[in-house]
């Protein structure tokens, strides 16, 4: 019988099936960070349990960390306590892969995984963070879990999951000039809405996806959760294998050959059935921005916000509430609107390629005086590459500073908060009320639109 990529990986990881219930799924790689894990370690302690397979968990501090002066003690005592607790748990449970602040492998969990070769095709991957879907770019089943499930994985290397439905989205043809992976993702979420893929695992396919680099594929898979999907995935190919090869934790020698032969079988068979299949023309996608308070409220940068009569009745209260929060009017166009902050970073757009795109645009130009710009690399690995490739000089010449790695203004748990009422063009993934600080107004966009905003101080179409 023909199988989808999802079926192949899922079936290879079933330990047992609960009668009338979920599947017990074996997890190959667990990523762990300081915010969603302390209560899980407490749970182990309360039950008197050890971590079952410590070498299969990678720990990094990223959510609640400063992006300056990381060599000094963390100022906020509650944040510091959480980081200390993370360190204590790593030591007490003998966790061998622990990357605290300042470690050269430290960084945003979904960036350091692929970067160090932890993420490999065919795996099941979980983390107490919804953007775990990022790793699906390598042809993995990767999804976010809650803290109770983190405890389950630590205790048994398994989770109980109900098998999701499958969806394939095909993007035919090529993306236009100045249109990025982020735009493709925001376009898709705007079409499907934030709940449109709930209950599904999505496979992204088609020419536009095949042409993408691994960095771009990670951006696409990262945003799967924003349309409600459990996760997103892309079949591995030469681009994937070339990326993985030679990374520290990737297989080597004979093991590499053996794994590679298996990885090459990881694609949806001809005639495999999906519960839902959608098609888009890549040429229809424009640079995107969001205008509301969820990632589904997006539009082409040249377009106007919908008017009330375009919104179905049950949704009007929420729509109006959202625009009130943003300080926008129905029917308004946002092009040329003045903004206050720009954030380049996060597990969505904090990889080297994003910094290259940004640098390429700002080269030889000057930062607008009216904007505060935070350039936050996703990891120390990315930071190093930024220096080595000479991007730092470009940033400095244009008037930008580079900060230290972490989640930063993506969720504003640290000091990188956008003040109430201010507008931020952000390459992160969520424009929820208060996500970037209480009262902050977030406009999601790709790295190129962010670069243009940083130079002009306004919402600007980078193509013109």
């Amino acid at each position: 019988m023909s199988k989808t990529l999802f079926d192949k990986i899922w079936d290879a990881h079933v330990v047992s099936t609960v009668e009338n219930g979920p599947t017990q799924l074996y997890i190959d790689r667990h990523f762990c960070h300081e915010v969603t894990s302390p209560q899980a370690f407490n749970g182990l302690r309360a039950r008197g349990l050890k971590v079952f397979r410590p070498e299969l968990t990678t720990m990094t501090a990223d959510h609640n960390t400063p992006t300056i002066d990381q060599d000094k003690p963390v100022k906020d005592p509650i944040s510091r306590n959480q980081l200390d607790t993370f360190a204590k748990n790593a030591a007490e449970f003998n966790m061998p892969l622990y990357y605290p602040l300042g470690h050269d492998k430290n960084g945003v969990v979904h960036i350091i995984g692929p970067e160090n070769g932890f993420t490999q095709p065919g795996m099941t991957i979980v983390c107490g963070d919804s953007h775990t879907s990022t790793h699906g770019a390598f042809g993995t089943i990767a999804f976010g879990i809650g803290t109770s499930e983190v405890e389950m994985v630590l205790a048994t290397q398994c989770v109980l999951q109900t098998r999701p439905k499958t969806m394939r989205i095909n993007y035919n043809g090529k993306l236009g000039a100045g249109v990025s992976a982020k735009d493709l993702a925001l376009f898709t979420i705007a079409k499907l809405t934030t709940g449109g893929a709930t209950g599904y695992f999505v496979e992204y396919a088609g020419e536009a996806i095949r042409n993408m680099t691994m960095e771009e594929r990670m951006t696409v898979c990262n945003l799967s959760i924003e349309m409600g999907a459990r996760g997103g995935m892309i079949a591995p190919d030469e681009t994937t294998f070339n990326y993985v090869k030679g990374r520290e934790f990737a297989p080597k020698g004979a093991e590499w050959d053996e794994k590679l032969a298996y990885w090459k079988t990881l694609k949806s068979d001809e005639g495999a059935k999906f519960d839902l299949e959608l098609d888009f023309d890549a040429a229809d996608i424009q640079p995107m921005i969001t205008y509301g308070t969820n990632p589904g409220m997006g539009m082409g940068i040249q377009e106007s916000i919908p008017t009330l009569d375009q919104i179905d009745e049950a949704g009007r209260i929420s729509f109006q509430k959202s625009l009130d929060y943003m300080g926008f009017q129905p029917g308004e166009q946002l092009l040329g609107k003045s903004i206050d902050y720009v954030f380049l970073g996060s597990c969505t757009n904090g990889r080297i390629e994003d910094f290259r795109i940004f640098a390429n645009y700002v080269k030889g130009k000057k930062k607008a005086d009216n904007v505060v710009v935070w350039l936050v690399p996703g990891s120390w690995g990315v930071e190093k590459q930024i220096r080595e490739e000479g991007l730092l000089d470009i940033f400095t010449d244009a008037g930008f500073l580079l900060r230290q790695p972490g989640c930063s203004a993506c969720l504003a748990m640290n000091d990188d908060k956008v003040p109430a009422g201010k507008y931020a063009v952000s390459t992160s993934n969520r424009n929820f009320e208060g996500r970037q600080g209480p009262g902050a107004r977030t406009i999601l966009a790709g790295p190129l639109v962010a670069a243009a905003a940083a130079i002009t101080g306004k919402i600007t179409d980078p193509r013109v």
Binding site: Y26, N64, T198
Partner: protein
């Protein structure tokens, strides 16, 4: 985990769609290292002014409404996977959340904490909002064993779906970890088979 049987309660209506977990519990409250106290910050940015005083127009601050059932607009719990959202809802004292649609991870997290998410039709939901508006004393009855939810104001009932295994867990107060720990041998056998 506490056992769940049948519950009759007044409701707190929140007719807003796409309530994400960042609203349920904002990120700055996630610095704790245990599960206690999140209920105080449930919906913090909607509930409190900057100086910490309650916002009079938010439903949780309206003394007319109360009870252990939260009723929310469609696509409740989207966004971040933070289980803190479930702890906040549970900590506040809600035992049931009713909506016409839930985000996946939230649903799991709620169930893992003994909070029952009940999916009802859009019509049933609208009738609860209408009814509670007219009479805040409106009650719902949720019967897990029979998988029914009743609006005691208009006498209408609906049945709701729940995975048989999860239902059993809730009725008995068991959690997934207990189950998985009992399967250790299977896990080791699986690992051996892959070598």
């Amino acid at each position: 985990m506490e056992k769940f049987g049948t519950l009759t309660s007044t409701v707190v209506p929140l007719p807003i769609e796409n309530v994400d977990t960042d609203q349920i519990i904002p990120a700055r409250f996630l610095k704790a290292t245990n599960k206690d106290g999140f209920g105080d910050n449930l919906f913090a940015d909607w509930r409190y002014n900057k100086d910490g005083s309650p916002k009079a127009d938010f439903i949780l601050n309206n003394p007319v409404f109360g009870g252990s059932i939260l009723v929310a607009g469609k696509n409740f719990g989207s966004g971040s996977s933070r289980e803190h959202a479930a702890w906040a809802i549970d900590g506040y004292g809600f035992k049931v959340v009713v909506s016409s649609f839930f985000a996946d991870i939230f649903k799991n997290n709620a169930l893992n904490n003994g909070v029952l998410p009940v999916v009802v039709s859009a019509e049933f939901l609208a009738e609860i909002f209408d009814g509670a508006n007219k009479d805040p004393k409106l009650t719902l009855t949720v019967d897990l064993e029979n998988q029914t939810i009743s609006n005691n104001a208009n006498g209408k009932s609906e049945s709701f779906e729940i995975n048989a295994y999860k239902k059993e867990c809730l009725l008995k107060g068991l959690d997934d970890i207990d189950y998985l720990l009992s399967k250790r041998e299977l896990i080791e056998a699986y690992e051996a088979s892959r070598k």
